[in-house]
Point group: C2
Chain length 218, copies 2
């Protein structure tokens, strides 16, 4: 059973969405996430359902099956290994890798991924702090807490970010919030839940939207 590029993209997106939620994933959520139309999603869901990678009840949303999870994690493994390669070996900035990795993740060659993993020294996390699943789809999440959940006085190390968009990552670069940076919460503004934090001995204000997307050690 092989999945087309489009099928792999849908499956990966559905998998990611299903991890943010508890229950089934809605058609519209998938459509939004993929910038496509609900009608297209319904069509695709039917195909994925026939292939056994999702289970689906009309009007009731989609769930990823065990086989689907494995397939999704394999694509995610490839995506994150390629991102790591681009940053470690080709000197890409972390905000430049996503689009290219979206293409590279669909290349089919078990040997290529095996050797790439070897070349990179079997990394466990990608440049954004996300875990890289192993060949069996196993991975370990780091114990982490979103900055938005931290009270003044809390300090830690930036270990992951939740948004891979170039704009967001460029902003993080600017304020010095790279993976591994030391951070301390100085103050919280009750009015809008923005935070004053210290990064690299410099104090900056970040909005709630930003603090929700930065994870630090617990």
């Amino acid at each position: 059973m092989t999945l087309s590029f489009a099928e792999e993209n849908y499956l990966k997106t559905i998998y990611h969405l299903s991890r943010e939620l508890d229950g089934p994933v809605s058609t519209n959520a998938i459509a939004d996430s993929l910038s496509t139309k609900a009608a297209s999603v319904t069509d695709m869901i039917k195909k994925l359902s026939v292939k056994g990678v999702v289970s689906y009840q009309k009007y009731r949303g989609v769930r990823v099956s065990d086989a689907g999870k494995k397939a999704a994690l394999h694509v995610i493994r490839k995506h994150r290994l390629w991102e790591t390669f681009l940053v470690e070996k080709l000197k890409f900035n972390w905000d430049e890798v996503h689009e290219v990795a979206e293409q590279l993740e669909h290349i089919r060659s078990p040997l290529l991924i095996k050797r790439l993993d070897e070349l990179l020294g079997y990394p466990k996390y990608d440049p954004h702090g996300d875990p890289i699943p192993d060949e069996d789809g196993e991975f370990k999440l780091k114990a982490k807490i979103a900055l938005s959940e931290c009270h003044p006085g809390k300090d830690g190390i930036v270990i992951a970010v939740n948004d891979d968009s170039s704009a967001f990552l460029k902003y993080l670069d600017k304020i010095g919030a790279y993976i591994g940076a030391k951070v301390k919460v100085i103050d919280r503004v009750e009015f809008d839940d923005s935070l004053e934090i210290e990064l690299d001995h410099k104090k900056v204000f970040i909005s709630k939207e930003v603090s929700e997307n930065i994870w630090i050690t617990e």
Copy 2:
């Protein structure tokens, strides 16, 4: 103007065929080369013609335009850089790279190719001895002669092979005919034009079909 994967594959094939011939490339030659049907080729040729990368007269074959040449050489550049990467950095054998490079050549990212070229040290030739075009599509052929054209007594160094199939390359590995190997023609069998050659101080017989696909220094 962007070409789809399929369009890139057709264009590349037509370009390669046009270099073996003097005149226009026939529909059937393209179909054979791509293991597809003549009818499919006709359809695609029309599309490529509209896009201006080939010129085409019904029943009269196809020619690659200047714009087409540039586009084809760009794909070939990517293919050969990836092959070089696979062998040099990921320890692939030269008979394992073709299929993967066929996929990788379609990845769209100028920065990726720029950095890959840099990582590899700006190579001029790929693992099969084929020249890697630069960004402008320029490349240099080595002065070379097919073994099949050599008379007994002629010696030289294997600098390229003409067939990238895994079976052929595995056979070359077996007899020691890697790029850079010293070779000397010992004898020619008039009956079938097979050759006795010396490679690595070992004498082997090779068929005409094989000798036509091995190129040595002039």
